[in-house]
Amino acid sequence: MPVTENWKPTIVAFCCNWCSYAGADLAGSSRLAYPADVKIIKVPCSCRVNPMFILRAFEKGADGVILCGCHPGDCHYSTGNYYARRRMTLLFSMLDYLGVEDGRTRVEWVSAAEGVKFSETMNSFVEKVRALGPNVRLGDLRCKN
């Protein structure tokens, strides 16, 4: 895909129902701007995000994937985000190993009160992915090009 001035990245954001999705809500009701390129998918808990969800997002053409959840220690289900943190650490490290740049994956903890953080996080993430350009890898890990 040729990169033009107007190219907009496709960003998938998995947000947990209890903190980050409410944080996104707050960002909206506070009229804080974040790029419309971010597609939010609400999940019950960050721990609900099966690594396959991330892979599927990339396969379907996402240029960046971000996972947002409650701050460690604040999980609605007590410990979900701790498990999610380990899984995503390993998965993102593996994606980096396969050649998917680090800037395309991120985990950020956003509470329901952090509308500003949500907006800033999305802005900086989209900026980073835009700088990296379209994701040409991982559409097919068995690698037809």
Binding site: E59, P72, Y83, R86, L90, D96, V100, V107, R142, C143
Partner: protein, 314 residues
């Protein structure tokens, strides 16, 4: 080898075991296969030599359901898989009589450097290969499987008795290849995996042989898996097979290297598992799956001060 057969016959005769799980002569001298032996007579086909790389632990899942005990021969690295399967309640320790057999490195037919091989004679440190195109000699060490060069150790993690002496085979750094790839640029990394994984024919041999891939229901099999993330309803499964499989066994893979051994296309599949192992060791403390029954698995436990994803790479 003879002492293994003698001991197996004794145990069969005394009724302590109902059958023997071991390796049987194949069509050629270099392709023994896994087999059950039900009586002393059938044991004449039993072999144990450098080509018996097959890990027998996984076969004990089925053997655990049979009547009576099964005598199983486990090499040191296979015993890790057996302990891991015990931990996951897939094998029954009571149904197994384990003879830990010594190991001095197992061989990779592909490293013999010959085609149309008719026979291989193991003569001490030298392999005498005769093929359709002539005879050659290869040093035993040069034809060893990659996993033997980075052996976890020659100590059996579970056994009832041990037979035969082991010999040390380690002469490479286990994570050197992973580090070499990590140091590449994203373009180079992808190019490397693209060239390797494009060889994959999805024969599923790596999954079928893997002791960690022993789920009763596998996401790669069932079209009625009853979960939204089912991998196999679209080409998604085809495309992401290796990474999904590697993640499913992350923290449970003992690094037995069977996946790479059986791959008909010679893809170094262990590099996926070993990357996860390296990260787990670095971030969550040294962990060897199958080393003991009690230790908590890294992906089913956590610390409140774990590293943040990607923190070390930013």
């Amino acid at each position: 080898m003879q002492e293994l057969i003698v001991r197996a016959k004794e145990l069969l005769a005394s009724g302590q075991v109902a059958r023997v799980l071991g390796w049987k002569k194949g069509e050629h001298s270099y392709d023994p296969e896994v087999a059950f032996f039900n009586d002393a007579e059938s044991l004449q086909d039993f072999v144990y030599d450098g080509f018996c790389g097959a890990n027998l632990s996984k076969y004990m899942i089925e053997a655990s359901k049979l009547e009576g005990k099964t005598l199983v021969f486990l090499k040191p690295c296979d015993s890790y898989s057996f302990v891991q399967l015990m931990k996951e309640h897939r094998v029954d320790r009571e149904k197994a009589y384990i003879i830990g057999v010594g190991c001095w490195g197992k061989l990779d037919v592909r490293k013999l450097g010959a085609e149309g091989i008719l026979d291989v004679e193991i003569a001490g440190d030298v392999l005498k290969v005769s093929s359709l195109y002539g005879d050659s000699e290869v040093a035993y060490k040069d034809a060893m499987l990659e996993r033997c060069h980075v052996c976890k150790g020659k100590e059996h993690k579970v056994f009832d008795e041990t037979l035969l002496e082991s010999a040390d085979t380690v002469d490479l750094d286990r994570f050197a290849e992973v580090e070499r790839i990590e140091a590449m640029s994203p373009e180079e990394k992808f190019a490397y995996f693209q060239s390797e994984l494009s060889k994959c024919i999805r024969c599923n041999a790596c999954r079928n042989v893997c002791p960690a891939c022993s789920c009763r229901k596998c996401v790669f099999d069932s079209t009625a898996f009853n979960s939204e993330q089912k991998a196999n309803t679209t080409s998604f499964e085809e495309k992401m097979f290796h990474i999904i499989r590697a993640f499913h066994v992350a923290g449970r893979c003992t690094d037995c290297g069977e996946c790479s051994r059986v791959c008909p296309q010679g893809i170094p599949l262990h590099l996926f598992n070993r990357k996860f192992i390296k990260d787990i060791n670095r971030l969550y403390g040294e962990y060897q799956a199958g080393a003991d029954l009690e230790e908590k698995a890294p992906l089913t436990s956590f610390q409140t001060d774990d590293a943040e994803p990607g923190a070390d790479r930013r």
